[in-house]
């Protein structure tokens, strides 16, 4: 008697479990829609004619998929020019960030020297320091040396450590590597530059990829920096270029959405490829920070 009721309870439990799992999946699928429908809306709008876009109630599917909108957008928008400009900032900045932040990470994570604690504390401080305070003086400084409307402000920031949070990531990672590597290499007569280049850099490849992806995303998305430093259209990045497109074609939401999608796709593709490194990096800053 007792046994049967036990079995019954277990069956009931299992049913309950299944039921709650189904509900869980329904919520997750609803969440998936919430995440993706806006992006579909971007795509759908980019493929419509301008007349079709301004119809009420709005249609969920375009009547014809006008891929020609993209050709027109590229012609009006000069996407290639803005893309090239973005790359002119991005490539040297990503290299500079990875190089100088790993160097600083090596010093702060593995070497002993007087003042280390202070410099590390200042680096942490720079991580929480709100950027708006230094925006104006930085602009005035660059303006005084004639570096506005050039890419110098971006290059300088990237080649001087490339952001405190990247230095922090590098330092945390370098600390986890055993000290024996350095010591045995020292005994073999290697100097610190050789240790850094031949031993640590290969071992740090994962964190370097993480930092590279972070800084790629940063410069790809960066808006306030280019907005302040760049004045002429032939220096503009994609983020600024899209806004000038909007200025010129205020109500052509199909072209604006097409240009926006041009900016979204590379970021999402890079995320899809480097997802593991990306998410590990976020977790590392958040959990160890």
């Amino acid at each position: 008697m007792a046994q049967t009721s036990d079995v019954k309870a277990m069956k009931l439990n299992k049913k309950k479990l299944r039921f709650s799992t189904v509900i869980l999946y329904i919520i997750l699928i609803a969440g998936t829609l919430v995440c993706l429908v806006p992006l579909y809306w971007m795509l759908r709008s980019s493929l419509m004619s301008n007349a079709e876009i301004f119809v009420f109630p709005p249609k969920f599917f375009p009547s014809t998929w006008r891929w020609s909108n993209y050709v027109k957008t590229f012609q009006n928008f000069e996407a290639l020019k803005y893309f090239t400009n973005t790359m002119k900032i991005l490539v040297p900045c990503v290299i500079g960030t990875v190089l100088t932040s790993s160097m600083a990470g090596y010093a702060l994570g593995r070497l002993q020297f007087p003042g280390k604690k202070l410099w590390f504390a200042l680096t942490i401080g720079a991580m929480i320091l709100p950027g708006h305070v230094v925006l104006i003086p930085l602009y005035l400084t660059y303006s005084a040396i004639g570096a506005t409307n050039t890419y110098t402000p971006f290059y300088l920031a990237a080649w001087c450590g490339g952001g405190a949070s990247n230095v922090f990531l590098m330092r945390q990672f370098m600390r986890t590597l055993p000290k024996d590597y350095d010591e045995s290499a020292m005994i073999d007569g290697a100097n610190r530059l050789q240790i850094f280049l031949r031993i640590l850099v290969p071992l740090c490849a994962p964190i370097m990829i993480t930092v590279a992806i972070f800084s790629f995303m940063f410069y790809w998305n960066d808006f306030q920096g280019p907005l302040i430093y760049l004045r002429s259209d032939n220096k503009f990045t994609l983020a600024l270029g899209i806004l000038s497109l909007r200025g010129a074609y205020a109500s052509k939401w199909n072209y604006i959405m097409a240009a926006s999608l041009v900016m979204v796709v590379p970021a999402v593709v890079l995320f899809a490829i480097g997802q593991r490194y990306f998410i590990e990096g976020i977790v590392l800053t958040g959990v160890k920070g």
Partner: protein
């Protein structure tokens, strides 16, 4: 004599090694050092100096004492509007973003869910969308006549809204948009939840506690470090928000979204009042610093760090 000689030889050798290491340390750190001194803290001090002057791009700057600060606090209509809008947005977006992120993380942490990695990727995608593109997209979806949101509301027979185009719904609309991109805190919560001790959860089961007891007494305390970190970072990001007000609303309607970072930008780069804008930046910095200290004081103590791995 011989013995002391050896000892003398021994000591300098050690200090030579130490000195070499110190030199190497500074050489490797040199780029960061230059950045910290000249691009961060040097500029920080420079900003404070500018805030006591009437600096504009051209012409010489005159020392005006506390005039900028007094004018801001006493006379500037936009300043108080801006503080109110920013606090509202920062608070709203922190609550909305953290709750969404935590809820998703808890759902994904369920053992019965298959395809966790897939869902995690999907939920992260909105955070990858570049800010300008995301602002333009949401602006278009918020469009009262031809946007997705009002179309959906009409379809469900619900009243429509003017979203970012009306004074009282503008900030809530931007808060909604900020919750869409909650990927980073979500991932951090997920890793925090993975570390919650199963033995403690079982202990609650044995004591007859339900899911709610587990959540309040075990899960929340054990993820408190990430909860604390995410909230702090969320508040700072909320205070610093710029792109949404610049691209979507230009501070309007009727200054409802005149966030401080946008006001600073406007005063400095459009009205050419660099001294005044710097004073504004400093007031915001002080407010934010006090907020951070208060958070540390009240919640920092309650944060639980398991063992020695803080």
């Amino acid at each position: 004599m011989k013995g002391t000689g050896n000892a003398d030889l021994g000591r300098p050798r050690m200090s030579v090694m130490k000195r070499n290491e110190a030199i190497a340390g500074y050489v490797f750190m040199l780029p960061l050092l230059l950045g910290i001194v000249f691009l961060t803290y040097g500029q920080f001090v420079y900003s404070l100096i500018i805030s006591f002057t009437d600096k504009s791009v051209f012409g010489t700057a005159n020392f005006v004492g506390l005039q900028n600060y007094v004018k801001l606090l006493r006379e500037d209509f936009f300043f108080w509007k801006s503080i109110k809008a920013t606090v509202l947005y920062a608070f709203g977006s922190v609550v909305a973003t953290q709750l969404t992120a935590l809820a998703i993380a808890i759902l994904l942490n369920n053992r019965n869910i298959k395809g966790k990695a897939f869902f995690r990727t999907i939920f992260y995608v909105p955070s990858i969308v570049p800010a300008v593109a995301s602002c333009l997209l949401w602006m278009w979806m918020f469009n009262p006549d031809f946007g997705l949101f009002n179309a959906a509301l009409k379809l469900l027979g619900l009243p429509t809204s003017k979203w970012i185009y009306a004074e009282n719904t503008a900030v809530p609309s931007l808060v909604l948009m900020s919750a869409w991109a909650c990927g980073a805190p979500m991932v951090i919560y997920l890793s925090g939840l993975a570390n919650v001790s199963p033995t403690l959860l079982e202990a609650v089961d044995i004591d007859g506690g339900g899911a709610w007891t587990k959540f309040i007494h075990i899960t929340i305390p054990m993820i408190s470090p990430v909860l604390f970190y995410n909230t702090l970072m969320g508040i700072i990001a909320g205070f610093m928000t710029f792109t949404n007000s610049y691209v979507m609303t230009e501070g309007g309607p009727n200054n409802a979204t005149l966030f401080v970072n946008y006001l600073i930008y406007r005063d400095a780069f459009q009205y050419n009042e660099f001294g005044y804008a710097s004073a504004l930046a400093w007031i915001v910095f002080i407010v934010l610093a006090i907020c951070t200290l208060v958070i540390f004081k009240f919640f920092g103590k309650k944060v639980y760090y398991g063992g020695a791995d803080q």
